[in-house]
């Protein structure tokens, strides 16, 4: 409890000058890291208030993950491969997709879905007034700790599938895999931010956000199952078929050509830039809620 007051205190007595808190420092990364640490502390305290609920949500997520895995094992009762994807390669794929999804949920999801509510109620005024980058605050305000627990579960499944494949990836592969996971999270984050930002125009973007969450489901399926316009859209426009497929291909030596990695990274950069542009024009358009 005492640490809770500390967080509260450090917020309200922000006037005390500290070297990290210079608002217009040319290199404010340390300042923002400090801020993020405070937001983390806040979230931990909040979660500890509802321990049983916190554990139950972890069970729910784990159960749905188990459901996806059981779907794969039932599919492979009746077939040896989907395209060239074998059973344990697909398990690694489902695990990777779950890893990305859970990390995204842990860091961003609650914050982005809350955005349309902040716009509707005018709470965003308050955030814009704070001497912090608004996008930072909107994106990172809360942390969903259960997501990290479930991410560990996903890592275990990936590890086990590699064991079943009898494949030990090299250091470069593992590092590349982890970096591509970050790229995948960045893609999901940017796309979701853009969708949430549409609520600057339509106010009610909940349906769209829900729809996007649906698209996550495609990411865990092997890319070779798809053809034609569907594959083109979900590779080049909304790269769902790249975000988890490419890292797994790198990890299990399935990469057709290094160009796939290049494409994923390039698309991530483009989508992130687009999200920043949209965000800026959306903020310009914002005229509070009341009056």
């Amino acid at each position: 409890m005492s640490s809770g007051f500390k967080v509260q205190g450090s917020k309200s007595t922000g006037a005390s000058p500290s070297p990290d808190a210079i608002p217009h420092s040319p290199f404010p990364i340390r300042h923002y890291l400090g801020l993020y640490a405070a937001l983390w502390r806040n979230s931990v305290i909040r979660e500890l208030g509802f321990k049983a609920n916190f554990l139950m949500w972890i069970v729910v997520e784990a159960l749905w993950f188990a459901l996806q895995l059981s779907f794969i094992s039932v599919l492979y009762l009746h077939t040896e491969s989907i395209g060239s994807w074998t059973k344990w390669q697909v398990v690694a794929l489902v695990g990777t997709s779950h890893l990305i999804q859970q990390l995204f949920t842990a860091i961003f999801l609650t914050n982005l879905t809350a955005l349309s509510e902040h716009i509707r109620t005018g709470k965003l005024d308050f955030m814009i007034l704070l001497p912090v980058n608004t996008r930072f605050l909107v994106s990172f305000r809360q942390v969903d700790l259960g997501g990290f627990v479930n991410a560990i579960g996903a890592l275990c499944v990936i590890g086990y599938s590699l064991h079943r494949l009898g494949h030990t990836p090299g250091v470069a592969q593992v590092v590349g895999f982890l970096l591509l996971i970050l790229v995948g999270i960045l893609i999901h984050y940017s796309l979701m931010l853009m969708l949430s930002a549409t609520s600057f125009w339509t106010v009610r973007a909940q349906g769209i956000v829900w729809g996007y969450y649906n698209l996550f489901n495609i990411a865990r399926l092997p890319d070779e199952a798809f053809r034609g316009p569907f594959k083109a859209v979900f590779t080049f426009a909304l790269p769902m078929l790249l975000v988890s497929n490419v890292p797994v291909r790198l990890l299990v030596d399935k990469l057709a050509s290094p160009l796939e990695i290049l494409l994923l990274v390039a698309l991530a950069a483009i989508i992130f830039a687009a999200s920043e542009l949209l965000w800026r024009s959306a903020l310009k358009r914002y005229t509070s809620a009341s009056s």
Binding site: V60, G83, F226
Partner: protein
């Protein structure tokens, strides 16, 4: 009974507000459907015999399309959350005073919600089915179609009563969302949402027959595809009806227990 017609009418008007939302939902919902059908196509491409657990490609594709139809007609989307929050916020107090039965009231709202959703979803779903018309199987004859209609009505009741009872947990616990999601996960697998239940190992599929889950989705779909016929069909409908009666009794029991426990918030 006239008052419930009014409820139905109000429900229709209220849900009409969400028609655009429903259209989004129905259209976005097609994307995972396309995905799963593509995966099955890829699997059948690698199968020279073209049969998986007695399903041909067309039957498999139709299975998922009919699921979409049955889902549109019977799936509970918002009702359970609303019931739980009615209890949590104390809104049900007014129903204890009015000469209106809460279960029937919610059932009317559920029906009107499904009606509006089904009408809105009709356009994207039919367009999609038309695109896949070469692989779409219709019920073999009129009697089968009739059996399907009866079974879908029972499925809707079962779905509703299941969610209603689950939402009543709000009398005892503060946060019912996790319970609802856990139950939904079981139903998703055991009801046949993910894959036809006869793809499971026979022992497991046989065990599921003794639970209500297959009757919450898989059974009407099997009727449509002509996989359950003759006596088995009508026996199945009978079992399904018995499950509805059992679910109704359970819902009533839990409701009366909950009301005894209930103390209105605020006052």
């Amino acid at each position: 009974m006239e008052k419930y017609w009014h409820v139905l009418n109000i429900g229709l008007q209220n849900t009409m507000v969400y028609r655009l939302n429903f259209l989004f939902r129905a259209t976005f919902g097609l994307i995972p459907l396309i995905a799963i059908i593509s995966v099955w196509r890829a699997i059948y491409d690698g199968k020279p015999g073209g049969q998986i657990a007695s399903y041909g490609l067309s039957e498999m594709i139709s299975y998922y399309l009919v699921i979409t139809i049955v889902d549109a007609l019977t799936a509970v989307t918002e009702d359970d959350w609303q019931i739980a929050s009615d209890i949590k916020d104390g809104n049900i107090s007014q129903f204890l005073l009015k000469p209106m039965d809460y279960l029937t009231y919610r059932l009317c709202l559920f029906c009107s919600g499904r009606l509006v959703y089904a009408v809105v979803a009709l356009v994207p779903t039919c367009a999609f089915i038309w695109l896949l018309r070469d692989n779409f199987i219709l019920p073999p004859d009129a009697a089968t179609a009739g059996g399907f209609a009866v079974s879908v009505a029972l499925t809707a009741l079962l779905q509703f009563l299941f969610s209603f009872t689950l939402a009543l947990l709000a009398f005892w616990v503060l946060e019912v969302a996790t319970f609802i999601f856990i139950a939904f996960a079981f139903e998703y697998l055991a009801g046949g949402h993910l894959f036809p239940l006869d793809l499971l190992p026979p022992a497991l599929a046989g065990a599921l027959d003794y639970t209500p889950f297959p009757y919450m989705l898989f059974f009407p779909v099997s009727i449509w595809l002509g996989r359950v016929t003759g006596d088995a069909l009508w026996l199945g409908v009978l079992v399904q009806a018995l499950w509805v009666v059992a679910a109704y009794a359970l819902a009533r029991l839990v409701w009366s227990r909950g009301i005894k426990k209930y103390s209105a918030v605020g006052g």
